[in-house]
Amino acid sequence: MTEAAPAVYAPPASSKNAALALLRAVTSHRLATVGLVIIVFFCLMAAFGPLVIPHGPYEQDLYAVLSGPSASHWLGTDNLGRDLLARVVYGARVSLLFGIGSTALSAGLGIVIGLIAGFRGGIVDAVIMRITDAFLCFPPLIFILAMAAALGPGLHNVILSFALFGWTGFARIIRGQVLLVRELPFIEAARASGLSPARIMFAHVLPNTLAPIIVAVTITIGIAILAESGVSFLGLGVQPPTASWGKELRVGFTYLESTPLISIVPGLMITVIVIAFNFVGDGLRDALDPRLKGAGQHRE
């Protein structure tokens, strides 16, 4: 933090020093480090795994349908004789893209909408909040089905419909935080020093509301990865033969007694990545709240 002193004005989020400081803070948090390592490993696996493993995800070995682990198929095969390891590695691409992509979109949308609602108040707030209420009492599956009917199935459309549906939670969290923060004296002080409402909103209110959002984001990524499995099962997500963890999990469901690995491996992957995101979320929350970091460091 002391090294960051010359960055007088650079907003903490975009400053290289601050980003490094954040990384340092996360890595000083033991569980967050574990989470980060897992996430990085999964990302590397998704990117470079196919170069290492011997089989492709669509390659069928009809002599080894539903086989257990063997020398050529390390984790065994599925009902169509496809290599489970290859399916899982390729599936990581879809699942990570879906989890991170849909969450990033819905969080971005929710943050902007919630910020406007909380900051403007009055009629703007009332209208936005009634819209989010309407979204919240609408069954998500129906919404996603309707979206799929309108846009057609496929990964990108499902990400879009998740984002269009998922922003409400973020908007409500942010709005609640904004209502709390905007009454604090430092906001009045910012106004008294002549800052414009937009600047106060983004530079002063927003950074004070992010801690719960970061936690929500990490949890939502996990939920989205899980939800993708449900949507893929209904045939709305990625289309066969593309692999995703959720789809493998569902396929394995049928063969749970004979070949449980088909479900267990992707299920384990989902569990591990969800936990990893949660660890990182906890670490980030602690790191982003300056009141918790380096307490008593320079106090006089």
């Binding site: 903490p12 008294a192 300056p290």
Partner: protein, 327 residues
């Protein structure tokens, strides 16, 4: 009398707040002037409308529930109440700066101190990078923050209360404003630090001819620092006088009561403190006539019927009272 050029001229300022129970008039027909290099104190109990007056000058009254019902605030001839949003924003923090009463909560906890000091300078003076850094360092030095270069990267929680208030003052002085409005700047601090900070503000007034509006309930501060004093009660100015004059010859019963209820070093310790009987009036149920009459030992029939206007009773000395008590 001070005949420096007039900076700020407030006329008939009235501020209302709409509450669930009804309309409250927090500031009622307040008029006063502020000149270059003058220290004007606004004195009164909590809830008498001091802070609302200060906020109204810069149009910072939260609306709703608040509303500036009428009046004018002329700053160098420009009416701030009728200025556009851009114009008023250009004055806030630049020509008229405000220092708030809560040093613990008036700084943003998640931004570095350097960034918060730098922000108004970027905005109003267009300073960037090296020039900005130098200016921030200079400002922090001027309020005696040790190691300013290093401390700029720190967050408010790493500063003590006195240091945070000094940071606030540095922020207020940053753009060399014409007027500094200090709303109870030292209330939350201990006495030695109070004196330091007030000296700092006084230096600013003396070296830059800044006008200072000091809002306080501390009569000791007023006696020592102010040139002029406006005493407020229930949203109105009840007495306005030069500070020395006010202490020697208070003429409004409320001011007399106030001065009698504070211990003074220039009086024998045997002198008794006389509290003002009763409570300030409920803003929703203001008494008829003069708001002070239920607590006033000098009240006459007229006080119950009619509210007195501020009237001149001596050179630069005005009171809002039917009875001129020459205390």
């Amino acid at each position: 009398m001070n005949d420096a050029p007039e900076l700020l001229s407030v006329r008939n300022l009235t501020v209302d707040f709409a509450t669930a129970e009804g309309l409250i008039t927090a500031v009622d027909n307040v008029s006063f002037d502020l000149r270059e290099g003058e220290i004007l104190a606004l004195v009164g109990e909590s809830g008498c409308g001091k802070s609302a007056t200060a906020l109204a000058l810069l149009r910072l009254i939260a609306n709703p529930p608040g509303r500036i019902a009428s009046g004018s605030v002329a700053f160098r001839g420009q009416d701030l109440l009728r200025a556009s949003e851009d114009e008023i924003r250009d004055i806030r923090g630049n020509r008229i700066a405000m220092i708030f009463q809560e040093p613990m909560t008036s700084l943003n906890p998640v931004l570095t101190v350097g960034r918060q000091i730098g922000e108004p300078l970027m905005l109003h003076e267009g300073l960037r990078e090296e020039a900005l850094l130098e200016k921030c360092v200079k400002l922090l030095e001027s309020v005696s923050i040790p190691e300013p270069r290093r401390r700029m990267g720190g967050y408010p929680h790493q500063f003590s209360g006195g240091m945070r208030q000094r940071v606030m003052i540095a922020m207020g002085m940053g753009c060399a404003p014409d007027i500094i409005i200090a709303d109870e700047p030292t209330t939350a601090l201990d006495v030695t630090i109070q004196a330091q900070l007030l000296e700092l503000l006084r230096q600013q007034v003396e070296t830059h001819r800044t006008a200072l509006m000091l809002i306080t309930h501390n009569l000791g501060i007023v006696a020592r620092y102010a040139d002029r004093v406006n005493v407020m009660y229930a949203g109105r100015i009840v007495e306005s006088a030069g500070a020395d004059d006010l202490y020697e010859r208070p003429r409004h019963p409320y001011t007399i009561g106030l001065l009698r209820s504070v211990p003074r070093l220039d009086q024998p310790t045997a002198a008794k403190l006389v509290p003002i009987p009763g409570q300030p009036p409920d803003a929703l149920r203001m008494p008829q006539g003069c708001a002070f009459h239920p607590r006033c030992p000098f009240a006459v029939a007229r006080c119950r019927a009619e509210a007195p206007a501020l009237r001149e009773v001596g050179a630069g000395h005005a009171i809002a009272c039917w009875v001129d008590v020459d205390g």
